[in-house]
């Protein structure tokens, strides 16, 4: 065992293995919140310098670059990450970086890029399970996806994943389990009747916490039986609207995690194919609800009733 950067991050020679989205990840450090695995790793994460001068990038964003089979992202003050061929991640830490932050960005956006490289479709959202049927809750940042998933869990549904809902075609459309926790903000915890001091922060300085799923997490993959596209509005009450027609596929693919990188990484056609299959096979509804805290429980209850009804069909 080697210690680097004082006591910032304990690095192990033998990999610690964790299961995430059906992929076994070999990490050089402990990530105690993740689910451990005994299997051989599919993906190896190494710490070290990143060389990428020779790569011809198809896309260069402000913080990220992408090419077929390669993705690079720089998180200023934290680390650089290189993801290659869906099986290797190199992490180049910044001196003095918060190790919890290094781990957090490994989950997103880095895992999102890895999933794309492995021909899995990461959608931006959470996923809950009722009677072994998966329902995706997709939406933009700050819509309330994790909060709704936590509220549904309190009512007895299982949570399969948070933040990234990973879809595979095998041959049916299935969702794979993500990390065994939800990421909830201080206010969300309070609305759910939880004390924030019972949970670990995701990184220093952020009022966002690991909310463990424990035994409530679903173990295996589950067939995707419904998609809810979430958005907030400034009215009382809520509204479900069933989507139909050609627009449906694009509305789903709009929620592809890191959509701009998909084309650059060379899997645009595949993404369209799975998006088309989703639109054809999976019912899609928009769910507009109030984000105000005195409507929070009503928003959870309405979605809960709708999912139960959908699962019985």
């Amino acid at each position: 065992m080697t210690k680097v950067r004082g006591d910032a991050l304990v690095v192990f020679k033998a990999k610690k293995k964790y299961l995430l989205y059906g992929v076994v990840i070999g990490l050089p450090f402990t990530f105690s919140q993740l689910r451990e695995s005994d299997s051989d790793p599919d993906v190896v994460v190494n710490l070290g310098p990143i060389e990428h001068q020779d790569i011809r990038w198809a896309e260069e964003g402000l913080c990220h670059k992408a090419a077929p089979g390669v993705y690079f992202i720089r998180i200023q003050g934290i680390a650089n990450y290189l993801v290659r061929n869906g099986c290797e991640i190199v992490v180049e830490m910044v001196d003095g970086a918060d190790p919890e932050a290094v781990k957090l960005f490994l989950l997103h956006p880095v895992m999102g890029a890895l999933l794309i490289q492995r021909d899995l479709l990461p959608l931006q959202g959470s996923c809950v399970v009722y009677k072994k049927r998966a329902f995706a809750l997709l939406g933009a940042s700050a819509t309330g996806k994790s909060f709704l998933a936590a509220g549904l869990m309190k009512k007895g549904l299982k949570v399969l994943s948070d933040h990234i809902c990973c879809v595979i075609e095998n041959p049916h459309l299935m969702v794979t389990p993500g990390y065994p926790f939800l990421l909830l903000w201080h206010k969300g915890l309070r609305l759910l009747g939880e004390q924030n001091n019972r949970f670990a922060r995701v990184r220093q300085g952020l009022e966002k916490y690991f909310f463990p799923l424990d035994c409530m997490a679903e173990e295996g993959v589950a067939p995707l039986c419904g998609i809810y596209l979430l958005s907030n509005w400034n009215r009382d009450g809520h509204e479900f609207d069933t989507l139909t027609g050609f627009d449906k596929m694009f509305r789903i693919l709009d929620h592809t995690y890191h959509e701009p990188s998909v084309k650059a990484m060379g899997i645009f056609k595949w993404q369209q194919k799975i998006g088309s299959a989703l639109a054809k096979c999976v019912p899609v509804k928009s769910y507009r609800f109030s984000a105000y805290e005195d409507r929070a429980q009503k928003s959870i209850d309405s979605l809960y009733e709708n999912i139960l009804a959908a699962a019985e069909k």
């Binding site: 402000l62 819509t143 206010k187």
Partner: protein, 286 residues
Amino acid sequence: MGNIVWLVSYPKSGNTWFRAFLAALLDENQESPDINRLAGGPIFSSRYVFNNYTGLDSSDLLPDEIDKLRPAVYRKLSSEAATTVFIKAHDAYTYLSDGNPLFPTEATRCALYLVRNPLDIAPSFANHSTSSLDKTISSMCDAKDAFCGNPKNLHNQLRQWLLGWSGHIKSWLSAEAIPVRFIRYEDMKAKPLETFINAIQFAGLTHSLDAVANALDACAFEKLRQQEAENGFREKGLRVNAFFRKGEVGSWRETLEDRHVDQLIKTHADIMHRFGYLDGAENPVY
């Protein structure tokens, strides 16, 4: 010079009206601009725009880390724009820890800063945020005030430093790196044609007087209010009956108590004098 014209204001100072005017001006076929598709959007503090341009999840970043990246986002947006882009902003003109301004100079064509009498802002802002007058005025007098600044919650917009009403204006008065034109809401009401045409000329637009007059007619207050009543307005607060309420100059006299007026004048007297909201004897002009 960049392509962005910033439409800057402290909240409830006429920014939405100006954006409605721009929407009507830039699309002359519209009888009345759709209030849910106004020009000047998305706002500078949009989380969605930030995430899309950076490829990062802003919800995993600290507010100061986000601020460091915001100038680069809008430099890129400006470089990709084929023509002038109007972008609404409520942020004060602040500097990052590296000494560079939050509003990127190279991306900027100019800024139009809308100023409104703080006595009229207070009741409007309190209504909009369903907050008490005391609390709203306290925020307006707080030199460290921020919008979407509560770290315990994930807001749909990024944190915006407001710095109090006069602090906000002072920050923009000191923004020497970019051209800023200050436009009083009261002038927009009293002499609209002259005020709006001066504003758009400063922004580099060359529309005729007739076009400006038609746009002003299309976004008349009553038309916007009627449209909200019929179709709703996405920028309205939940418990608020309407976003477009009065918009009148001097309506604070029906709402504010003497102590509210005293507090606002005491805190902001210098800037209120400068923009003609107080006379020599420190009495409100409007």
